[in-house]
């Protein structure tokens, strides 16, 4: 009787684990067969996220190149709409790429405007919001969602 109970117990566990394997092994195998290996590039992960958000190719190379042209020590001001999680990653990426530059963030309320003219020595990055400046500072677009107003 005891031996039989043990057999039923073992069979129940074997059944449970078999069902678990049967349900999940095909998913993992499909995943393995259908997903592609990511490109073997130093910025592969950052580019993956930024490409989708900024709609430009190789965004980190582009951003690196643009930031390298900014005056040494020039701080960066990142301007985006409040409560828009989409741009949080872009802000993180800018913080990541611009180290050790000083960086700050301004979040705008709906219909609020921000003028880059108030910060003449600062590079202002407008993300997902229209860039506004009235003076002759150089303006550079990085895709449709990011605009840099460089300091004079």
């Amino acid at each position: 009787m005891r031996f039989r109970r043990k057999q039923i117990y073992a069979a129940a566990w074997a059944l449970l684990l078999s069902i678990f394997v049967a349900r999940n092994a095909p998913v993992l195998i499909t995943h393995l067969l259908h997903e592609k290996i990511i490109p073997a590039k130093p910025n592969a992960s950052m580019d993956h996220f930024l490409e989708a958000l900024l709609l430009v190719r190789e965004p980190t190379t582009r951003l690196d190149e643009i930031f390298s042209r900014l005056p040494a020590g020039s701080p960066i001001l990142f301007v985006s709409a409040r409560n828009n999680d989409r741009w949080d990653f872009v802000y993180s990426a800018v913080c990541y790429l611009t180290w050790p530059r000083k960086i700050d963030k301004v979040e705008l309320q709906p219909n609020e405007r921000f003028s880059a003219d108030m910060f003449p020595g600062t590079s202002v990055l407008f993300c997902g919001t229209p860039a506004t400046n009235t003076d002759a500072r150089s303006r550079e677009s990085i895709g449709p969602n990011l605009t840099l107003i460089a300091p004079r």
């Binding site: 117990y9 449970l16 678990f20 996220f49 802000y91 993180s92 050790p100």
Partner: protein
């Protein structure tokens, strides 16, 4: 080619340091799987601690060479110890065809994990919390710049998080000479392999059958969360490596409960001490582990051992806290300071937390019915296996789980439910290996072994582990 040589040098130095530390702690020649797992877990801790402490004084090539020399000194000391002990007795299990089939399947599983890891990019936190620190440290010659810790603009990257993972990534960068978000992913399958080696040894010990160990190791990656969710092995987070270290510390604690070998105690204490160095939640895991082992020693009336078990972990927690205060680190904004007033105010959250917890563990896309298996195992153990060991395992699973859930009472997020949704699945992942141990313990009742499986008592003369060589 240069990248390959750099990767080899970084991994070799880590494993050499870990091997040395391991051999200084044990009195036998370990088997292959155990040696690999301990070399990796102890090696990453050694290298990251050496980089952190060394980086307080020197930087650049001098720091890299100093840490490399430390690794080689540990390796040399370890090797001289290793030579003193006889080779492990030939393992009769290894020659069985079944064992070799399992090993082949395990190697296939590792290959699949490497492929799946390179199919995914680093995740959001993998990049902006962990790899970001590695990059900043690399750009600063191997040491995180002090200014980073007080930089409020970059507080999203949690400067207060401990550095085991990011400094291990930095070590790789120092050797390949550049930051590389592709090759850094190679580190995570190694942590996975180390975790699986320990899981196999643990399950073999608990279930008393090596084949049950292999079955659990082969089923482990089928939990969807492991390969396709934030926190999984593919996205460069610290959660599964933390779970692996916790499992290893538990394994040696359980072995110590079986055979009272001082080396198992030492390994459990040292591995436990690295928990707070891996991630903030590691403090909770370390406390739970320490309370468990302190209770064991208190029952054996060995107060000195209980205190000794606390010292290394407490030293690491204290050192990191002092460092953060000294550099005026930006505090975390995720949790409010614990106080009775906040507890009373937020007590109503308990029902919400319980509901979210239930939703999290029953999320089929992340877990399928894994946690149901865990629950069934828990019931089976309570009905059939009321031993000190099973009580310890249940404590080591349920205590951190309760602490994790209770911590949301103090969540400082405006929407604490969003906080739970974002982080709880990752916290659960840290406990996945130990939940598999519970399942293994329940499976033990299906085997025909006597109630207490023979755990090896390692000695210099007859040294052998539960693993195969």
């Amino acid at each position: 080619m240069i990248t390959a040589v750099g990767i080899f040098a970084a991994l070799f130095t880590i494993l050499a340091a870990g091997f040395g530390v391991m051999m200084l702690l044990i009195r036998r020649r370990p088997g292959m799987w155990e040696a690999f797992a301990l070399a990796w877990l102890l090696g990453t801790a050694t290298v990251s601690l050496a980089l952190w402490t060394g980086g307080l004084f020197i930087r650049g090539i001098a720091l890299q060479m100093m840490v490399a020399v430390i690794c080689m000194i540990f390796a040399a000391l370890g090797f001289s110890h290793w030579r003193k002990f006889p080779a492990p007795a030939p393992n009769t299990h290894s020659s069985k065809t079944g064992e070799w089939i399992f090993i082949a399947l395990f190697l296939l599983e590792l290959a699949a994990i490497i492929v799946v890891s390179f199919q995914h990019t680093l995740g959001w936190d993998g990049l902006t919390v962990w790899e970001l620190k590695a990059r900043f440290a690399f750009l600063n010659g191997g040491a995180l710049p002090i200014a980073y810790f007080a930089d409020t603009a970059r507080r999203f990257s949690h400067p207060e998080y401990p550095l085991l993972l990011p400094l291990t990534e930095t070590w790789l960068y120092l050797w390949i000479g550049a930051c590389d978000q592709f090759w850094v992913k190679l580190l995570f399958p190694i942590w996975y392999a180390a975790t699986m080696s320990i899981l196999w040894m643990s399950v073999s010990l608990l279930a008393g059958k090596r084949w049950i160990g292999w079955i659990v190791v082969l089923i482990f990656p089928l939990v969807p969360c492991i390969y396709s969710a934030p926190g999984g092995i593919t996205v460069g987070y610290a959660d599964l490596p933390l779970g692996g270290i916790y499992l290893a510390a538990i394994f040696y604690l359980l072995r110590y409960m079986e055979n009272s070998a001082p080396e198992d105690f030492a390994l459990s204490v040292v591995l436990g001490a690295t928990l707070p160095w891996m991630k903030r939640e590691g403090v909770i895991l370390w406390m739970v582990l320490s309370i468990g082992s302190a209770f064991w020693f208190w029952k054996k009336r060995d107060i000195r051992a209980a205190l000794c078990s606390l010292l290394p972990g407490a030293a690491i927690i204290a050192a990191w806290s002092i460092f953060l205060r000294t550099v005026h680190s930006v505090p975390s904004r995720d949790f409010a300071p614990t106080s009775w007033a906040i507890l009373k105010t937020n007590l109503a959250r308990v029902s919400g937390i319980a509901r979210e917890f239930f939703l999290a563990i029953s999320d089929k896309s992340l877990w399928d019915f894994f946690w149901l298996l865990g629950l069934v195992a828990l019931v089976c153990i309570l009905l059939r296996e009321r031993t000190a060991r099973s009580a310890a395992l249940i404590w080591l699973l349920l205590a951190p789980l309760s602490c994790y859930c209770a911590s949301y009472i103090f969540s400082a997020w405006p929407d604490y439910i969003a906080h739970i949704d974002t982080s709880l699945p990752r916290l659960l992942m840290q406990l996945t290996p130990i939940a598999w141990l519970l399942i293994a313990l329940a499976l033990r009742s299906t085997s025909t072994l006597p109630s207490t499986p023979p755990a090896p008592r390692p000695t210099a003369q007859s040294a052998h582990g539960t693993d195969c060589s």
